[in-house]
């Protein structure tokens, strides 16, 4: 998983784990260049004729932070300022040119999160899979 894929996991992380992630940046000098702010992202979808249209807007929170001169961007669903900051900080350390200790720690934390989310998805997937229809033909059909 690349850095962007990993930071995407932050959107659905439990709040306690978001705080754990933020603690990884405790000893790192981060500057909040754009404080978290809410806003709207218009969703565009292609219909079955490849015509794009807007079904509606989505509430998001965005933030930007700078890590050693390297800017990171974070945007998450809903009103979630801490989560947006966590994603921006993770983005900044992943975009930073050199491998750093904090980058390794954040990667490890997010890979652990990926495994947890995979387990949850498998459980939910199994519930959905159990509803798959196996048709039997009617007698004489």
């Amino acid at each position: 998983m690349n850095g962007t894929d990993l930071t995407a996991l932050i959107d659905t992380m439990d709040e306690e784990r978001v705080e754990l992630l933020l603690q990884l940046f405790a000893d790192v000098e981060l500057t909040i260049s754009t404080p978290p702010r809410t806003g709207l992202m218009m969703l565009a979808v292609h219909d079955s004729f490849a015509t794009a249209f807007y079904p509606g807007e989505i509430l998001v929170t965005e933030a930007r932070v700078i890590y050693d001169g390297c800017e990171g961007f974070g945007m998450v669903l809903g009103e979630a300022p801490r989560r947006a900051l966590a994603r921006a900080a993770a983005d900044a350390v992943f975009r930073y040119s050199d491998a750093t200790q904090v980058q390794k720690s954040v990667r490890a934390c997010l890979l652990e999160e990926a495994a947890m989310q995979k387990t949850r998805q498998l459980e939910n997937g199994a519930l959905v899979a159990a509803t798959k229809v196996n048709f039997d033909l009617m007698p004489g059909a």
């Binding site: 992202m41 218009m42 969703l43 565009a44 979808v45 219909d47 009103e79 939910n124 997937g125 899979a129």
Partner: protein, 372 residues
């Protein structure tokens, strides 16, 4: 009795607002948590988001609480909140082939690639009251969860994405495949920035329907199904799932997935038409926020019915459909009749009295003429 224009009533209005809030709190039950509404009344939350045209589950749940369960009011609040927020951007157009599907059925084909996945649905419930829910508590829930996972085959996986059912028909040349040249659009219309004009471009029509009120859309779609129109649909595919919300990373330019948005999509196959002498199925398309299957199917039917070349019934008239299915506008107009119309009515009364006087004078004159 005199009828006059008035002003004032501020204190009474404020007290009425307080009384409305009090009605929600006067019972002995514990306060309803927004998280409870979001998690346990999720279909209502989905409906509010869809009709409010704003995907924000937490706020939709809050609106439902504040509105004491009135979904019209709750959608109105959500749309009002939307007006206070800055638009930060637009997503990259998402194709629903990438949807992480949790439910997917077709009434057109028995065997579809990937199979029919019923998912979470109330379609097959008996609609009999479940009195056990009166005793809903954590112990009961734990036991239910334990039971549902006990026999679950964890090694069976459903693919996360599925090919479209209609692609089977499209491959065989049985389905209209693209919009006619004159219907293609250079830019996506946005009715939140530019008012609807008619005939509305396809993107504007779909946007208006996607934020339409479920009941209103069902009414018009039902009229078409019953014969006030000519759309007898077959459900090519109905899917519920999660669509990635993807933008361009503002710094790197790479695709950036913000998160997933739950949507319902419906594709209905309707009557055969052929522009080039070759008859083909035509298609209606519906997609809305959340799980709202009646709305998505109704939208697909109305999408198809409003493309009828010679409209003969209300559901085939694009202007009629799009102007009358926005629940917030319709509810606002209906509610405005509760506001004082004292001057209007005084004018009506004056006119009526004058008309009666004239009628009585005419009657008297006729009687006098007859006596003479």
């Amino acid at each position: 009795m005199g009828y006059v224009a008035v002003k004032g009533g501020n204190e009474a209005i404020e007290e009425a607002c307080r009384l409305f809030a009090y009605e929600r709190t006067k019972g002995v039950s514990p306060p309803l948590g927004v998280d409870q509404i979001r998690e346990q009344l999720y279909l209502a939350v989905d409906r509010i988001m869809s009709e409010g045209a704003l995907y924000a589950p937490e706020l939709a749940a809050l609106a439902l609480k504040q509105a004491a369960g009135d979904t019209f009011e709750a959608s109105f609040m959500l749309r009002a909140f939307r007006a206070t927020q800055q638009r930060l951007g637009y997503s990259l157009p998402a194709g629903t082939e990438k949807m992480r599907v949790v439910r997917r059925i077709s009434s057109a084909f028995k065997d579809i690639p990937g199979g029919q996945i019923l998912g979470s649905t109330s379609d097959y419930t008996l609609r009999l009251l479940d009195f056990d829910l009166l005793g809903d508590d954590e112990a009961r829930r734990s036991a239910f969860r334990e039971r549902i996972f006990r026999h679950l085959p964890l090694d069976v996986e459903v693919p996360q994405t599925f090919p479209k059912v209609i692609s089977i028909l499209r491959r065989e040349g049985l389905l209209e495949d693209v919009m006619a040249v004159e219907q293609r659009e250079d830019a996506i219309a946005d009715i939140t920035r530019h008012p609807l004009t008619f005939p509305a471009p396809r993107s504007a029509s779909l946007q208006a329907l996607a934020r339409g009120e479920t009941g209103g859309m069902l009414t018009l779609a039902y009229s078409s199904m019953r014969g006030y129109g000519n759309i007898h649909p077959t459900l090519g595919e109905l899917r519920v799932g999660y669509l990635p919300l993807t933008i361009r990373h503002p710094l790197s330019g790479e695709p950036y997935v913000i998160g997933e948005v739950k949507v319902t999509e419906a594709e209905v196959l309707a009557r055969m038409e052929g522009n080039d002498g070759m008859p083909k199925f035509s298609l209606g398309y519906g997609l809305c926020f959340g799980q709202n299957e009646i709305k998505a199917i109704s939208m697909a039917i109305l999408d198809r019915s409003t493309r009828t070349k010679t409209p003969k019934s209300p559901a085939e008239d694009q202007e009629f459909v799009l102007y009358h299915t926005d629940g917030i506008e319709a509810m606002g107009f209906c509610n405005h009749w509760k506001l004082p119309h004292y001057v209007d009515f005084l004018s009506d009364l004056d006119r009526l009295r004058k008309s009666q006087e004239l009628a009585q004078a005419a009657t008297r004159k006729e009687s006098t003429d007859a006596a003479a």
